[in-house]
Amino acid sequence: MSSAAPADAIGTLYRDHHGWLQSWLRRKLGCSHQAADLAQDTFLRLITARRQEAFHTPRAYLRTVAHGLMVDHFRRRELEQAYLDALAAMPEPLAPSPEERLAIFETLYHIDSLLDALPETTRRVFLLSQLDGLTYATIGEQLGLSLRTVKRHMHAGFAQCLAALL
Protein backbone atom coordinates (compact mmCIF):
# COMPACT_ATOMS: atom_id res chain seq x y z
CA MET A 1 0.00 0.00 0.00
CA SER A 2 0.96 3.62 -0.12
CA SER A 3 3.22 5.20 2.43
CA ALA A 4 4.86 8.54 2.67
CA ALA A 5 8.14 8.83 0.85
CA PRO A 6 10.58 11.48 1.94
CA ALA A 7 10.54 14.61 -0.14
CA ASP A 8 14.19 14.26 -1.09
CA ALA A 9 13.44 10.81 -2.58
CA ILE A 10 11.03 12.49 -4.94
CA GLY A 11 13.64 15.14 -5.63
CA THR A 12 16.14 12.46 -6.60
CA LEU A 13 13.57 10.75 -8.77
CA TYR A 14 12.80 14.03 -10.47
CA ARG A 15 16.45 14.83 -11.08
CA ASP A 16 17.24 11.36 -12.40
CA HIS A 17 14.25 10.78 -14.64
CA HIS A 18 12.52 14.02 -15.57
CA GLY A 19 14.65 14.65 -18.64
CA TRP A 20 14.23 11.08 -19.80
CA LEU A 21 10.45 11.17 -19.32
CA GLN A 22 10.10 14.43 -21.16
CA SER A 23 12.04 13.25 -24.17
CA TRP A 24 10.09 9.97 -24.14
CA LEU A 25 6.85 11.95 -24.20
CA ARG A 26 8.19 14.25 -26.89
CA ARG A 27 8.88 11.27 -29.11
CA LYS A 28 5.36 9.96 -28.53
CA LEU A 29 3.54 13.25 -28.92
CA GLY A 30 5.74 15.02 -31.42
CA CYS A 31 5.30 18.27 -29.47
CA SER A 32 7.68 19.55 -26.82
CA HIS A 33 5.13 21.85 -25.13
CA GLN A 34 2.66 19.06 -24.51
CA ALA A 35 5.51 16.79 -23.48
CA ALA A 36 6.64 19.30 -20.87
CA ASP A 37 3.08 19.69 -19.55
CA LEU A 38 2.46 15.98 -19.35
CA ALA A 39 5.84 15.28 -17.73
CA GLN A 40 4.93 17.88 -15.12
CA ASP A 41 1.52 16.28 -14.56
CA THR A 42 3.11 12.87 -14.25
CA PHE A 43 5.37 14.01 -11.44
CA LEU A 44 2.45 15.74 -9.82
CA ARG A 45 0.60 12.44 -9.73
CA LEU A 46 3.63 10.81 -8.28
CA ILE A 47 3.90 13.33 -5.48
CA THR A 48 0.24 12.98 -4.55
CA ALA A 49 0.11 9.20 -4.90
CA ARG A 50 3.48 8.38 -3.31
CA ARG A 51 3.40 4.78 -4.31
CA GLN A 52 6.22 2.43 -3.44
CA GLU A 53 6.65 1.01 -6.91
CA ALA A 54 7.49 4.51 -8.10
CA PHE A 55 10.75 4.15 -6.20
CA HIS A 56 11.44 0.53 -6.96
CA THR A 57 10.94 0.71 -10.73
CA PRO A 58 10.74 4.42 -11.41
CA ARG A 59 10.87 4.43 -15.19
CA ALA A 60 8.26 1.70 -15.62
CA TYR A 61 6.02 3.52 -13.19
CA LEU A 62 6.51 6.93 -14.75
CA ARG A 63 5.90 5.53 -18.20
CA THR A 64 2.66 3.91 -17.05
CA VAL A 65 1.36 7.06 -15.43
CA ALA A 66 2.44 9.22 -18.37
CA HIS A 67 0.72 6.77 -20.72
CA GLY A 68 -2.50 7.18 -18.81
CA LEU A 69 -2.29 10.94 -18.94
CA MET A 70 -1.54 10.80 -22.64
CA VAL A 71 -4.57 8.62 -23.27
CA ASP A 72 -6.78 11.04 -21.32
CA HIS A 73 -5.30 13.88 -23.26
CA PHE A 74 -6.13 12.30 -26.62
CA ARG A 75 -9.55 11.21 -25.49
CA ARG A 76 -10.36 14.72 -24.29
CA ARG A 77 -9.22 16.18 -27.60
CA GLU A 78 -11.31 13.70 -29.57
CA LEU A 79 -14.33 14.40 -27.42
CA GLU A 80 -13.90 18.16 -27.74
CA GLN A 81 -13.81 17.85 -31.51
CA ALA A 82 -16.92 15.66 -31.59
CA TYR A 83 -18.66 18.08 -29.22
CA LEU A 84 -17.82 21.15 -31.29
CA ASP A 85 -19.02 19.36 -34.43
CA ALA A 86 -22.26 18.38 -32.71
CA LEU A 87 -22.83 21.93 -31.45
CA ALA A 88 -22.19 23.35 -34.90
CA ALA A 89 -24.77 20.98 -36.36
CA MET A 90 -27.46 22.05 -33.88
CA PRO A 91 -30.14 24.50 -34.93
CA GLU A 92 -29.52 27.89 -33.28
CA PRO A 93 -32.56 28.01 -30.95
CA LEU A 94 -31.79 24.56 -29.50
CA ALA A 95 -28.10 25.16 -28.89
CA PRO A 96 -27.08 25.51 -25.22
CA SER A 97 -25.82 28.81 -23.84
CA PRO A 98 -22.05 29.30 -23.41
CA GLU A 99 -22.28 28.54 -19.66
CA GLU A 100 -24.31 25.42 -20.30
CA ARG A 101 -21.83 24.32 -22.93
CA LEU A 102 -19.04 24.05 -20.45
CA ALA A 103 -21.14 22.23 -17.85
CA ILE A 104 -22.36 19.78 -20.48
CA PHE A 105 -18.84 19.17 -21.66
CA GLU A 106 -17.65 18.35 -18.16
CA THR A 107 -20.49 15.84 -17.77
CA LEU A 108 -19.74 14.37 -21.18
CA TYR A 109 -16.09 14.03 -20.32
CA HIS A 110 -16.91 12.29 -17.09
CA ILE A 111 -19.33 9.82 -18.69
CA ASP A 112 -16.98 9.31 -21.61
CA SER A 113 -14.22 8.21 -19.26
CA LEU A 114 -16.60 5.74 -17.60
CA LEU A 115 -17.59 4.28 -20.94
CA ASP A 116 -14.21 4.28 -22.61
CA ALA A 117 -13.19 0.78 -21.59
CA LEU A 118 -16.45 -0.77 -22.82
CA PRO A 119 -16.57 -2.73 -26.06
CA GLU A 120 -18.40 -0.85 -28.80
CA THR A 121 -21.61 -2.89 -28.74
CA THR A 122 -21.89 -2.67 -24.97
CA ARG A 123 -21.42 1.09 -25.13
CA ARG A 124 -24.04 1.43 -27.85
CA VAL A 125 -26.58 -0.66 -25.96
CA PHE A 126 -25.86 1.27 -22.78
CA LEU A 127 -26.25 4.66 -24.46
CA LEU A 128 -29.47 3.67 -26.20
CA SER A 129 -30.87 2.79 -22.80
CA GLN A 130 -29.44 5.58 -20.65
CA LEU A 131 -29.42 8.44 -23.14
CA ASP A 132 -32.33 7.69 -25.44
CA GLY A 133 -34.38 5.88 -22.82
CA LEU A 134 -35.22 2.97 -25.13
CA THR A 135 -36.54 -0.24 -23.59
CA TYR A 136 -34.37 -3.34 -23.70
CA ALA A 137 -36.78 -4.94 -26.15
CA THR A 138 -36.54 -1.98 -28.55
CA ILE A 139 -32.75 -1.93 -28.28
CA GLY A 140 -32.69 -5.63 -29.08
CA GLU A 141 -34.83 -5.05 -32.17
CA GLN A 142 -32.72 -2.14 -33.35
CA LEU A 143 -29.40 -3.92 -32.99
CA GLY A 144 -30.55 -7.43 -33.82
CA LEU A 145 -29.71 -8.76 -30.36
CA SER A 146 -31.67 -11.06 -28.11
CA LEU A 147 -33.18 -9.63 -24.95
CA ARG A 148 -30.78 -11.78 -23.00
CA THR A 149 -27.78 -10.32 -24.82
CA VAL A 150 -29.06 -6.77 -24.28
CA LYS A 151 -29.29 -7.51 -20.56
CA ARG A 152 -25.76 -8.86 -20.51
CA HIS A 153 -24.48 -5.69 -22.17
CA MET A 154 -26.43 -3.54 -19.73
CA HIS A 155 -25.09 -5.50 -16.79
CA ALA A 156 -21.54 -5.02 -18.03
CA GLY A 157 -22.18 -1.31 -18.60
CA PHE A 158 -23.58 -0.75 -15.12
CA ALA A 159 -20.85 -2.79 -13.51
CA GLN A 160 -18.13 -0.83 -15.31
CA CYS A 161 -19.62 2.54 -14.38
CA LEU A 162 -20.28 1.63 -10.75
CA ALA A 163 -16.84 0.14 -10.25
CA ALA A 164 -15.33 3.37 -11.54
CA LEU A 165 -17.61 5.57 -9.44
CA LEU A 166 -17.09 3.81 -6.12
Binding site: F74, D116, L118, R152, H155
Partner: protein, 327 residues
Protein backbone atom coordinates in the same frame (compact mmCIF):
# COMPACT_ATOMS: atom_id res chain seq x y z
CA UNK B 1 -6.34 3.68 2.53
CA UNK B 2 -7.14 3.60 6.25
CA UNK B 3 -10.37 5.06 7.57
CA UNK B 4 -12.26 4.53 4.39
CA UNK B 5 -14.52 1.56 3.69
CA UNK B 6 -13.41 1.56 0.09
CA UNK B 7 -14.81 -0.83 -2.47
CA UNK B 8 -11.92 -2.75 -3.92
CA UNK B 9 -12.15 -5.20 -6.79
CA UNK B 10 -12.47 -7.83 -4.07
CA UNK B 11 -15.88 -6.25 -3.41
CA UNK B 12 -16.71 -6.55 -7.05
CA UNK B 13 -19.54 -8.77 -5.87
CA UNK B 14 -21.40 -5.73 -4.56
CA UNK B 15 -21.05 -3.93 -7.86
CA UNK B 16 -22.16 -7.06 -9.62
CA UNK B 17 -25.25 -7.36 -7.44
CA UNK B 18 -26.10 -3.70 -7.91
CA UNK B 19 -25.81 -4.11 -11.69
CA UNK B 20 -28.04 -7.15 -11.46
CA UNK B 21 -30.74 -5.17 -9.62
CA UNK B 22 -30.46 -2.27 -12.01
CA UNK B 23 -30.96 -4.49 -15.05
CA UNK B 24 -33.98 -6.15 -13.42
CA UNK B 25 -35.44 -2.77 -12.55
CA UNK B 26 -34.93 -1.29 -16.01
CA UNK B 27 -36.18 -4.42 -17.74
CA UNK B 28 -39.46 -3.98 -15.85
CA UNK B 29 -39.02 -7.30 -14.09
CA UNK B 30 -39.55 -6.10 -10.54
CA UNK B 31 -43.00 -6.58 -9.10
CA UNK B 32 -43.99 -5.41 -5.63
CA UNK B 33 -42.16 -8.30 -3.95
CA UNK B 34 -39.11 -7.67 -6.11
CA UNK B 35 -39.00 -4.03 -5.11
CA UNK B 36 -39.18 -5.00 -1.46
CA UNK B 37 -36.33 -7.42 -1.99
CA UNK B 38 -34.30 -4.64 -3.60
CA UNK B 39 -35.07 -2.37 -0.66
CA UNK B 40 -33.88 -5.11 1.73
CA UNK B 41 -30.70 -5.54 -0.28
CA UNK B 42 -29.97 -1.81 -0.03
CA UNK B 43 -30.49 -1.81 3.74
CA UNK B 44 -28.49 -4.97 4.28
CA UNK B 45 -25.06 -3.37 4.01
CA UNK B 46 -23.82 0.25 3.76
CA UNK B 47 -21.77 -0.74 0.74
CA UNK B 48 -24.95 -1.83 -1.03
CA UNK B 49 -26.52 1.53 -0.36
CA UNK B 50 -23.40 3.32 -1.54
CA UNK B 51 -23.42 1.38 -4.80
CA UNK B 52 -27.06 2.26 -5.24
CA UNK B 53 -26.38 5.95 -4.60
CA UNK B 54 -23.64 5.83 -7.22
CA UNK B 55 -26.12 4.34 -9.69
CA UNK B 56 -28.54 7.17 -8.97
CA UNK B 57 -25.92 9.83 -9.46
CA UNK B 58 -25.02 8.16 -12.75
CA UNK B 59 -28.66 8.29 -13.84
CA UNK B 60 -28.74 11.96 -12.85
CA UNK B 61 -25.66 12.73 -14.92
CA UNK B 62 -27.14 11.02 -17.94
CA UNK B 63 -30.41 12.84 -17.34
CA UNK B 64 -28.68 16.21 -17.44
CA UNK B 65 -27.31 15.62 -20.93
CA UNK B 66 -29.15 16.67 -24.07
CA UNK B 67 -29.61 13.26 -25.76
CA UNK B 68 -28.65 14.63 -29.15
CA UNK B 69 -25.28 15.91 -27.96
CA UNK B 70 -24.59 12.77 -26.01
CA UNK B 71 -25.31 10.56 -28.98
CA UNK B 72 -23.11 12.61 -31.29
CA UNK B 73 -20.14 12.57 -28.95
CA UNK B 74 -20.17 9.48 -26.72
CA UNK B 75 -21.08 6.97 -29.41
CA UNK B 76 -18.04 7.67 -31.52
CA UNK B 77 -15.69 4.96 -32.71
CA UNK B 78 -12.72 4.71 -30.37
CA UNK B 79 -9.30 4.78 -31.92
CA UNK B 80 -7.62 1.46 -32.00
CA UNK B 81 -4.26 2.80 -30.95
CA UNK B 82 -5.84 4.43 -27.95
CA UNK B 83 -7.70 1.30 -27.02
CA UNK B 84 -4.46 -0.60 -27.26
CA UNK B 85 -2.87 1.95 -24.99
CA UNK B 86 -5.67 1.58 -22.48
CA UNK B 87 -5.21 -2.17 -22.50
CA UNK B 88 -1.50 -1.94 -21.90
CA UNK B 89 -2.17 0.33 -18.96
CA UNK B 90 -4.75 -2.02 -17.52
CA UNK B 91 -2.21 -4.80 -17.72
CA UNK B 92 0.63 -2.73 -16.35
CA UNK B 93 -1.19 -1.13 -13.45
CA UNK B 94 -1.78 -2.91 -10.22
CA UNK B 95 -3.70 -0.09 -8.55
CA UNK B 96 -6.43 -1.79 -6.52
CA UNK B 97 -8.98 0.98 -7.04
CA UNK B 98 -8.87 0.73 -10.80
CA UNK B 99 -12.35 0.23 -12.19
CA UNK B 100 -10.84 -0.92 -15.43
CA UNK B 101 -9.39 -3.95 -13.68
CA UNK B 102 -12.72 -4.93 -12.26
CA UNK B 103 -14.24 -4.50 -15.69
CA UNK B 104 -11.88 -6.97 -17.25
CA UNK B 105 -13.16 -9.69 -15.00
CA UNK B 106 -16.72 -9.33 -16.22
CA UNK B 107 -15.51 -8.49 -19.66
CA UNK B 108 -14.00 -11.93 -19.89
CA UNK B 109 -17.43 -13.46 -19.43
CA UNK B 110 -19.17 -11.21 -21.83
CA UNK B 111 -16.66 -11.50 -24.65
CA UNK B 112 -14.28 -9.05 -26.15
CA UNK B 113 -14.15 -6.56 -28.90
CA UNK B 114 -11.69 -7.60 -31.62
CA UNK B 115 -10.26 -5.27 -34.19
CA UNK B 116 -7.54 -5.35 -36.80
CA UNK B 117 -5.67 -2.50 -38.40
CA UNK B 118 -5.24 -2.21 -42.15
CA UNK B 119 -2.74 -4.84 -43.21
CA UNK B 120 -3.15 -6.89 -40.04
CA UNK B 121 -4.86 -10.27 -39.76
CA UNK B 122 -5.57 -12.01 -36.50
CA UNK B 123 -6.38 -15.50 -35.33
CA UNK B 124 -8.58 -15.75 -32.26
CA UNK B 125 -9.15 -18.93 -30.27
CA UNK B 126 -12.82 -19.24 -29.37
CA UNK B 127 -14.00 -20.55 -26.01
CA UNK B 128 -15.63 -23.61 -27.63
CA UNK B 129 -12.38 -24.69 -29.31
CA UNK B 130 -13.28 -23.15 -32.65
CA UNK B 131 -11.23 -20.50 -34.40
CA UNK B 132 -11.99 -17.05 -35.66
CA UNK B 133 -9.77 -15.28 -38.19
CA UNK B 134 -10.12 -11.56 -38.63
CA UNK B 135 -8.96 -10.03 -41.88
CA UNK B 136 -7.47 -6.58 -42.46
CA UNK B 137 -9.41 -3.53 -41.19
CA UNK B 138 -12.10 -5.61 -39.50
CA UNK B 139 -14.04 -5.47 -36.25
CA UNK B 140 -16.06 -8.14 -34.49
CA UNK B 141 -17.57 -8.97 -31.11
CA UNK B 142 -17.63 -12.46 -29.69
CA UNK B 143 -20.63 -13.01 -27.45
CA UNK B 144 -20.96 -16.55 -26.19
CA UNK B 145 -23.60 -17.32 -23.63
CA UNK B 146 -25.63 -20.29 -22.45
CA UNK B 147 -28.03 -20.08 -25.39
CA UNK B 148 -25.81 -19.33 -28.37
CA UNK B 149 -22.36 -18.82 -29.77
CA UNK B 150 -22.65 -15.45 -31.42
CA UNK B 151 -20.09 -13.47 -33.42
CA UNK B 152 -21.07 -9.99 -34.58
CA UNK B 153 -19.19 -8.70 -37.61
CA UNK B 154 -19.17 -4.90 -37.70
CA UNK B 155 -16.73 -4.29 -40.52
CA UNK B 156 -14.32 -6.14 -42.78
CA UNK B 157 -14.15 -9.89 -43.07
CA UNK B 158 -13.89 -12.91 -40.84
CA UNK B 159 -13.53 -16.63 -41.23
CA UNK B 160 -14.95 -19.11 -38.78
CA UNK B 161 -13.79 -22.66 -38.20
CA UNK B 162 -16.43 -24.05 -35.90
CA UNK B 163 -15.86 -26.79 -33.35
CA UNK B 164 -18.46 -29.20 -32.00
CA UNK B 165 -20.03 -27.60 -28.95
CA UNK B 166 -19.38 -29.35 -25.67
CA UNK B 167 -22.53 -27.86 -24.14
CA UNK B 168 -25.65 -30.05 -24.08
CA UNK B 169 -27.76 -29.41 -26.03
CA UNK B 170 -25.20 -27.89 -28.45
CA UNK B 171 -25.65 -24.15 -28.87
CA UNK B 172 -26.14 -22.73 -32.37
CA UNK B 173 -23.17 -20.91 -33.89
CA UNK B 174 -24.30 -17.62 -35.44
CA UNK B 175 -22.65 -14.72 -37.22
CA UNK B 176 -24.62 -11.49 -37.27
CA UNK B 177 -24.03 -8.60 -39.63
CA UNK B 178 -26.19 -5.51 -40.10
CA UNK B 179 -27.80 -7.32 -43.05
CA UNK B 180 -28.78 -10.53 -41.34
CA UNK B 181 -27.81 -13.76 -39.69
CA UNK B 182 -25.70 -16.70 -40.79
CA UNK B 183 -26.18 -19.97 -38.98
CA UNK B 184 -23.32 -22.46 -39.19
CA UNK B 185 -24.16 -26.05 -39.96
CA UNK B 186 -20.89 -27.67 -38.75
CA UNK B 187 -18.51 -25.81 -40.88
CA UNK B 188 -15.80 -23.50 -42.19
CA UNK B 189 -16.99 -20.30 -43.81
CA UNK B 190 -16.16 -16.63 -44.23
CA UNK B 191 -18.32 -13.54 -44.00
CA UNK B 192 -17.48 -10.15 -45.37
CA UNK B 193 -19.21 -6.80 -45.13
CA UNK B 194 -19.03 -4.94 -48.40
CA UNK B 195 -19.88 -1.53 -47.07
CA UNK B 196 -22.90 -0.64 -49.17
CA UNK B 197 -25.51 -2.65 -47.27
CA UNK B 198 -24.27 -6.04 -48.39
CA UNK B 199 -22.71 -9.01 -46.67
CA UNK B 200 -21.07 -11.84 -48.55
CA UNK B 201 -20.78 -15.42 -47.36
CA UNK B 202 -18.37 -18.02 -48.73
CA UNK B 203 -18.75 -21.61 -47.59
CA UNK B 204 -15.56 -23.68 -47.58
CA UNK B 205 -16.83 -26.80 -45.81
CA UNK B 206 -20.31 -28.17 -45.12
CA UNK B 207 -23.06 -25.59 -45.20
CA UNK B 208 -24.58 -22.48 -43.63
CA UNK B 209 -28.02 -20.95 -43.57
CA UNK B 210 -28.45 -17.26 -44.41
CA UNK B 211 -31.33 -15.31 -42.97
CA UNK B 212 -31.53 -11.68 -44.15
CA UNK B 213 -32.68 -9.35 -41.37
CA UNK B 214 -35.90 -8.39 -43.14
CA UNK B 215 -36.33 -11.44 -45.39
CA UNK B 216 -38.60 -14.34 -44.62
CA UNK B 217 -37.07 -17.53 -46.05
CA UNK B 218 -33.55 -18.59 -45.07
CA UNK B 219 -31.25 -19.84 -47.81
CA UNK B 220 -28.96 -22.83 -47.43
CA UNK B 221 -25.51 -22.34 -48.94
CA UNK B 222 -23.31 -25.37 -49.60
CA UNK B 223 -19.53 -25.84 -49.64
CA UNK B 224 -17.87 -24.17 -52.64
CA UNK B 225 -20.63 -21.60 -52.96
CA UNK B 226 -20.65 -17.88 -52.38
CA UNK B 227 -23.63 -15.57 -52.00
CA UNK B 228 -24.14 -11.92 -51.31
CA UNK B 229 -27.14 -10.68 -49.34
CA UNK B 230 -28.79 -7.46 -48.31
CA UNK B 231 -31.15 -6.97 -45.39
CA UNK B 232 -34.04 -8.02 -47.61
CA UNK B 233 -32.77 -10.70 -50.01
CA UNK B 234 -30.04 -13.19 -50.87
CA UNK B 235 -28.69 -13.06 -54.42
CA UNK B 236 -28.30 -16.36 -56.32
CA UNK B 237 -25.22 -18.33 -55.19
CA UNK B 238 -22.13 -18.38 -57.42
CA UNK B 239 -19.12 -20.73 -57.26
CA UNK B 240 -16.58 -19.56 -54.65
CA UNK B 241 -13.31 -18.44 -56.25
CA UNK B 242 -10.21 -20.53 -55.61
CA UNK B 243 -8.24 -19.25 -52.64
CA UNK B 244 -11.17 -17.37 -51.12
CA UNK B 245 -9.71 -18.09 -47.68
CA UNK B 246 -6.03 -17.63 -48.61
CA UNK B 247 -5.88 -14.37 -46.62
CA UNK B 248 -5.94 -16.46 -43.46
CA UNK B 249 -2.42 -17.60 -44.39
CA UNK B 250 -1.41 -14.12 -45.55
CA UNK B 251 -1.89 -14.80 -49.25
CA UNK B 252 -3.92 -13.32 -52.03
CA UNK B 253 -4.50 -15.72 -54.90
CA UNK B 254 -5.47 -14.46 -58.34
CA UNK B 255 -6.34 -16.79 -61.18
CA UNK B 256 -6.94 -14.75 -64.30
CA UNK B 257 -8.57 -12.04 -62.18
CA UNK B 258 -9.18 -8.59 -63.74
CA UNK B 259 -6.49 -6.18 -62.48
CA UNK B 260 -9.12 -3.72 -61.26
CA UNK B 261 -10.66 -6.35 -58.96
CA UNK B 262 -7.27 -7.53 -57.80
CA UNK B 263 -6.15 -4.00 -56.91
CA UNK B 264 -9.38 -3.43 -54.99
CA UNK B 265 -8.65 -6.60 -53.03
CA UNK B 266 -5.01 -5.64 -52.42
CA UNK B 267 -6.13 -2.18 -51.27
CA UNK B 268 -7.93 -3.78 -48.33
CA UNK B 269 -4.54 -4.77 -46.94
CA UNK B 270 -2.77 -1.50 -47.61
CA UNK B 271 -3.07 1.77 -45.69
CA UNK B 272 -3.82 4.83 -47.79
CA UNK B 273 -5.14 5.10 -51.31
CA UNK B 274 -4.48 2.49 -53.96
CA UNK B 275 -6.14 3.04 -57.33
CA UNK B 276 -6.23 1.31 -60.66
CA UNK B 277 -6.63 3.37 -63.84
CA UNK B 278 -9.65 2.27 -65.91
CA UNK B 279 -7.59 1.67 -69.06
CA UNK B 280 -5.63 -1.15 -67.40
CA UNK B 281 -8.39 -2.50 -65.12
CA UNK B 282 -9.24 -5.23 -67.61
CA UNK B 283 -5.75 -6.80 -67.72
CA UNK B 284 -5.64 -10.27 -66.22
CA UNK B 285 -3.60 -11.17 -63.17
CA UNK B 286 -2.49 -14.60 -61.99
CA UNK B 287 -0.26 -15.39 -59.06
CA UNK B 288 0.12 -15.74 -55.31
CA UNK B 289 0.83 -12.50 -53.47
CA UNK B 290 1.64 -11.66 -49.85
CA UNK B 291 -0.92 -9.54 -48.03
CA UNK B 292 1.81 -8.53 -45.60
CA UNK B 293 3.99 -7.05 -48.33
CA UNK B 294 1.77 -5.06 -50.66
CA UNK B 295 4.74 -3.05 -51.95
CA UNK B 296 6.25 -6.20 -53.31
CA UNK B 297 2.93 -7.31 -54.80
CA UNK B 298 2.77 -3.99 -56.65
CA UNK B 299 6.35 -4.28 -57.90
CA UNK B 300 5.60 -7.79 -59.14
CA UNK B 301 2.60 -6.48 -61.05
CA UNK B 302 4.67 -3.74 -62.64
CA UNK B 303 7.28 -6.34 -63.66
CA UNK B 304 4.82 -8.73 -65.24
CA UNK B 305 2.14 -6.48 -66.74
CA UNK B 306 2.31 -3.42 -69.01
CA UNK B 307 1.61 -1.09 -66.12
CA UNK B 308 3.50 1.61 -64.23
CA UNK B 309 3.24 2.50 -60.55
CA UNK B 310 2.79 6.13 -59.80
CA UNK B 311 3.62 7.08 -56.23
CA UNK B 312 2.10 10.42 -55.35
CA UNK B 313 3.16 9.60 -51.82
CA UNK B 314 3.83 6.45 -49.84
CA UNK B 315 0.09 6.33 -49.13
CA UNK B 316 -1.27 7.27 -52.51
CA UNK B 317 -0.38 4.93 -55.32
CA UNK B 318 -1.94 4.57 -58.77
CA UNK B 319 -1.50 1.65 -61.13
CA UNK B 320 -1.54 3.17 -64.61
CA UNK B 321 -0.81 2.33 -68.24
CA UNK B 322 2.84 2.48 -69.25
CA UNK B 323 3.70 5.83 -70.81
CA UNK B 324 3.81 5.55 -74.63
CA UNK B 325 7.24 4.80 -76.14
CA UNK B 326 9.36 7.83 -76.90
CA UNK B 327 7.14 10.35 -75.15
Amino acid sequence: MPGRAALSPADAGVVNQAAHWLVKLHAGELDEAGRRALQRWREQDPRHERAWQAAESLAQRFGSLPAELGRATLDRPRQRSRRALVKSIVLALTLPASGALAWRRWGGELGADYRTATGETRAIQLADGGQLFLSSASAADVLFDAAQRLVVLHAGELLVQTAPDSAQPPRPFLVHTAEGRIRALGTRFSVRRDGAGHSRVTVLEHAVEIQPAAGDTPLRLEAGQQASFSASAVSPPTPAPAGADAWVRGHLIADGQPLGDFIAELARFRPGILRCAPEVAGLRVSGVFQTTDTDRALTTLADSLPVALRYRSRYWVSVEALPAEGS
